[in-house]
Subunit: 152 residues, 2 copies
DNA sequence: ATAAATTCATTCGTATACAAACGGATTTTG
DNA sequence: CAAAATCCGTTTGTATACGAATGAATTTAT
């Protein structure tokens, strides 16, 4: 039971200090869970990147929005949402117009193509969420989502 | 209690289908939790990016490794780990040498500078993990990490 | 009403991320 | 052993991600 009797395997470290293991770190685990989720997404949906999908989903949910507001609601900063919107415009899935009352703003809205594409993909998206959470039981899923939400 | 009595707020959707809310999706929640964690990291550590830190941490933990093996253990693909190692080399925190027995391999190892820098930052890194998990009680943290690990 | 502060969209620079394709080296297999 | 399969590192191309700086527009505070 004497701590100092345990031979230290960590090079040049005092044995009282627990080792720093990358695989135990919250950041690394979040990253790997995200990678797994994005892999499941990529196997199910090829027409849109995850952020492009999120953008169309938010526009469906909230209607037309200024580009910055859209970025806020999808958790992208101004520089990032700009690129996503540009690429969606190139695919004619969204369109932009300048705001009449506030000339700083660019209003982003879905095209009918964008609306239809998203409608077609929503069931698949629900399936992706299910597949991502499949390693957990239903009650574990509820607990996990509850705790994850607290960390945002 | 009649479902069909409830006026539908979702444009053009049948009311039996629950709405698809971005804020409820596991991918979006993982992303926001990661963003919060990276923000905490960024406020505490400026000398290294998170992936550069992870790379030095893994080298400290496992010793010298081939570049590809290092990528596997840090969950980076070959193209990504190459860039990270290149930037760490430029800062003289790691060094590379070719493997004598397998001429395909490049062995990556810490320099003394890299070893010292990581030693100096490890306590801060533990604090970053603590801060990230602070919204949860100790027992919630244990449950969360247990479930998160199942999703990797 | 006007100076100050804020917001909006854009641009630049740096750092992941990953698919795909490549040539060279090693291992596996028939 | 020789062909096939695999592994290694590299490069290219596309897509986030975000800090910082900018100019134009709007709001706030005085």
């Amino acid at each position: 039971m004497n701590k100092t009797d345990k031979p230290s395997a960590d090079a040049g470290q005092t044995s009282g200090v627990p080792p720093y293991r990358l695989d135990d770190q919250i950041g690394h685990l979040l990253r790997r869970a995200t990678q797994r989720h994005l892999s499941i997404y990529g196997q199910a949906i090829n027409a849109l990147t995850p952020m492009q999908f999120a953008t169309l989903a938010k526009l469906t949910e909230a209607g037309a929005l200024s580009q910055n507001a859209l970025g806020r609601l999808t958790a992208m900063d101004g520089a990032t949402i700009k690129g996503v919107v540009d690429r969606l415009k190139k695919q004619e899935l969204v369109q932009t117009q300048s705001d009449k009352t506030d000339r700083r703003r660019t209003i982003v809205s879905l095209t009918s193509q964008g609306r239809e594409l998203l409608a077609d993909l929503t069931d698949t998206a629900r399936q992706i969420t299910d597949d991502t959470l499949r390693p957990l039981t239903d009650s574990e899923q509820a607990i996990f989502l509850h705790l994850l939400r607290k960390l945002t």
